[in-house]
Symmetry: D2
Subunit: 355 residues, 4 copies
């Protein structure tokens, strides 16, 4: 007795634009989401696209991302190309009626962000931004503790955000600077976990890790004090280097107590010898640390397409942290508290070539 | 510019026998292993097989496991059927030239185990036993700490093994008893982490969790002292119930220090309130706790087929813990230390209907 | 065979001024320091003084602190009276040639602080200020990690400082405010652990814990960003209430890694039940948390008298945090970064009756 | 206005017999107990006695302990002399009507123990045995968790007991062996925390740390399985060497969950560098680890004398662990479970010259 299995589940066709590091992460996550057909991959560097296609059995390969928008079997695109292409792709994909998952940032120019988001709105397509930490079990537990009232009325927040090592200077130079490149993620976590908007920022930066970063016009250490609409206050600290690896923590104090999260580790082993009691280093960088979060992020993107749900990370969620980064930059320069509503919607990183 | 991707990678055809809980875990893991073709699924309960087939897009579905052995496109089988069918399936699959992954136990009758292992040997097929903890990052770290000399010459071992709650009495009755059903896993971990064979056991059991377990002729708490061939000593404790969930730990002390592992948790959040400083419960049971281990176990099985490697968990690794369980049972009854070489190879659980 | 023991060790005569809570802590610590003779105790509330005298076998009891300065057998005084009496007592004791241990603050009026410190300097007596955290094993370990180069070149600092519950409003009203009453301790820890002076502060305050504190003109939550002379940056957060008890932590990140300290607990027990994995609350408040530190502080005071050593916490160490509190207050009001050298030495808390 | 303080509190005169390491610990603790007069110290090594007398201002010094029993101002004695003198001192002190605190063991000969305890009983004096762990905050928390029902009905126990390094071989030779010298403490903790008597033991020993210990007829690693009168089971493991220092832990599992305690550390600092996340080693040995416990033990002894209370650690509490040690020794030799009631009251360590 035997039978051919005939699965009739609604399949979602996805094309991935950009087959670099993060593009491959999303491809792998997508191969594990039931109901997904990886239809096409595009990358300006054609070899990158073909390599991805072979690894993940993707039938169609392109150099030009515009080609994937023409494919009727593509329902949604995953944008992992360089940041300065995001806005254009969003506008074109919106017009082509494709749902969009876009890696952060949409852009660092608020006018271009607004252009992109307007295109999305007009097209009525679904748009999800790539703040993967929102899908991380630790940060979600913090959000839950605040939202459910477990910590009571929130008072204060502190975020620690440290990379294992600075990126190459070439990357630094085109990164938009620490507030844009690193801290936008943390601004998002502050808003997400607190459930309230930041209304004032005061910032302080330093160049302590590598003089070359300073010479490139950037900082590598920063602290930002924030005030929320709900009157809570907090601090966010970023550093480009932690010798022990990737360090991502948050603590929120409220009237009933506090919630704070630590890092994730490859194992739970404790080694005790004649020198110390120790454990292995935490998961080294975002690819390992947020592997599960990336998987859930893609599952969510497929789910919102399949069931036409509201994306949990919207275009506005991508715009606000950029505004906050402008405010932080201005505060550091002017050595004063900056109200977020001071930032003009025409602010552009091009107007701030050097910090 | 576009191109059809033509992946020529060597595909491995796998059939899964038994579509119960653990069968589904292995199916899911297999769908994520590159190069695997899930060819067929069989289950005596046909609905279970069809459900699995639909979920994992498996083309062929059978009620009788013998059918899958006839398929030429099946290179390996994954045996997840009831324990008392394992030996027969192993013998038949060996004759059919299929590589075998088999859930533990092979059997609890040493004669039947030996029959099965002889069939495997004669056929020259690859056989891997389902001790998934060997693929867990924590236990592997312990093994590494011992093997590499990080803890020096080993002295002592302690294993804690607790289930969140006892299984139904119906399961208990046909389980073979705590030493066979639970502690064989721990005997394997003791051997694996210590890298030495157990030569003596002394055991103590109690019925404290549920009187119904005692009435069924079993115990629900046990401690076993072990002596290893390398002269190390240790203790293993098992309990059918830990109110806080699944608890799997090991500690090894050596001349340079110790290594010990804790449980895995769903998140790292610490909540502090006016009563306590606390965290969420550990991952609840083996399905969550060893999810990664099951995935690596299947990757390994596919890899050994693809590259004809030596399986990391052999048939003998399945036989030895059963011998140890007999020794533990005898020690408990006779209130004395039992040498492992006292256990006759004709020992059979049928000869021990009641503990 | 027996012998009368004739101990000839140099005895130090100490008088305690102020027999309130902290006065009693110091009395108890002093009874345990070898070589100390508790000679006299004075308190404006005479019953407080007699109670202390009975408990600690102190032979002489006074209402007026001036009396103890006349006693030739008093070598040093321990000042635990209300803050507004400290400066006067310091001036008088200096003139009387008594060594002085003084609880913080010397005063909140910089002119009065300077008067007191000038008197100390002219008299050439030994003066130690009561920043007990400098004697705490955790904070000392942080200092050591920075000083020894264990964390490399320091980059950033974060201090968490939370009381279990706000003091009575009556206390709040005369406390000088959160920056003076609470955060001066944390400014001292920042300087002590970092080994560098704070040169800029930017602060943010909020009244979230209790509206009555706001009505009294104070805040109950505050964050202060600091910049050090060594270019490091950091943040200090204070809150008048943590439901789980006293919370005193510090973290310093440097080029080689980080050091951070947690709280102290009454025991190490971990309780696991069907709800959580938890432990008892940390030691509740400074009396328990710093019991050992207070003991070491008194041992040190006696030791510096016996051996004429340099006090480890000087008068200047008492002055600087007050200047920093003025800077923080001004920054909060003016919503800008304040350079510490902007604070005029005539700054007086009397000039800032309300925040 | 001044007044002579006239403290009329009931003073307790104490004499310390034995001025070695533990004698000095008790002297120091006693100097900190209000109401204690350290009257005399005796040691066969007269210099040890005079050194202690000078350090702690003890007026009377003797070589012969019999002298201190003649002093009317001595209400209680603290026995810290070599173990083989304990029984004789207990008998003599009982006859002299002195209350007795005695370091463990009373003796290892059960007949001599019974002689001593009979003398105590006849004299009606108060007798407290030196199991200081009963006064440790961690072990007390375990006891409380069991007694209060916090962990529910107890099921199982595990004790880890490791010294930082073996004592000199000369000490080993006269120590009575690991079961007597080390594990009697752990047997006491098992009884104390579980609140039930041990009725069966099964033991296993090994000589792995130092061959010289084996040559001296002793073992350096041991595990003992125990069965309690309340049907619970458990394991105790001892080792003479843990490279990372003193390791004293216990875990009890019950129907509602578990309690387990860790070690105490000199500070809470966590250092993270490019190699590991680590902390300093635990408090090194019993002098540091149980400093607080020793202090509370002496406070308790003074309190029971002052208020004629029942001692919390009785003579019987000293006898039972010795019986258990005999049972463990016999079990190891005979490779079988030994019922505690098999041990004859005439058992004597002299009859077991070599293990």
């Amino acid at each position: 007795m035997s039978r051919e299995n005939n699965n009739t589940k609604h399949q979602v066709g996805i094309a991935v634009i950009g087959a670099g590091r993060i593009g491959l992460v999303h491809c792998e996550a997508l191969t594990r989401v039931p109901g997904v057909q990886l239809v096409a991959v595009a990358d300006f560097i054609y070899e990158a696209a073909t390599t991805a296609a072979e690894k993940f059995h993707i039938p169609l390969v392109f150099q030009d991302w515009k080609e994937v928008l023409k494919l009727p079997q593509v329902h949604g695109i995953v944008v992992c190309s360089p940041s300065d292409t995001h806005a254009d792709i969003i506008v074109a994909a919106s017009r082509a009626g494709k749902h969009i998952f876009c890696e952060k940032p949409i852009d660092y120019d608020l006018k271009r962000i607004d252009l992109a988001l307007t295109a999305v709105e007009r097209a009525g397509i679904l748009f999800q931004l790539g703040f993967q930490r929102r899908f991380d079990a630790n940060f979600r537990r913090v959000r839950e503790a605040v939202k459910s009232g477990e910590v009571g009325t929130p008072y204060m927040l502190h975020i620690v955000s440290r990379d294992p090592a600075p990126p190459p200077i070439s990357y630094i130079k085109q990164s938009g600077g620490l507030f844009f490149d690193m801290m936008t993620h943390d601004f998002d976590m502050a808003r997400f976990c607190m459930g309230s908007e930041i209304v004032e920022v005061t910032s302080l930066g330093a160049n302590l890790v590598d003089p070359a970063i300073g010479e490139a016009g950037d900082i590598d250490c920063a602290v930002v004090s924030v005030k929320f609409a709900n009157d809570c206050i907090g601090t966010i600290e970023c550093c480009r280097k932690a010798a022990y690896g990737y360090d991502q923590r948050i603590e929120i104090l409220g009237s009933n107590g506090s919630v704070n999260i630590g890092n994730n580790f490859p194992n739970t082993a404790i080694i005790s010898n004649s020198q110390t009691i120790h454990r292995d280093l935490p998961l080294n960088f975002f690819m390992d640390r947020y592997k599960e979060a990336y998987a859930r992020e893609m599952e969510t993107f497929v789910d919102i397409i399949q069931n036409h749900k509201t994306p949990p990370v919207s275009g506005l969620d991508g715009r606000i942290p950029v505004v906050l980064a402008y405010a932080a930059l201005q505060s550091m320069k002017e050595k004063r508290t900056v109200r977020v509503d001071e930032i003009d919607s025409t602010a552009s990183v091009l107007a701030h070539p050097k910090m």
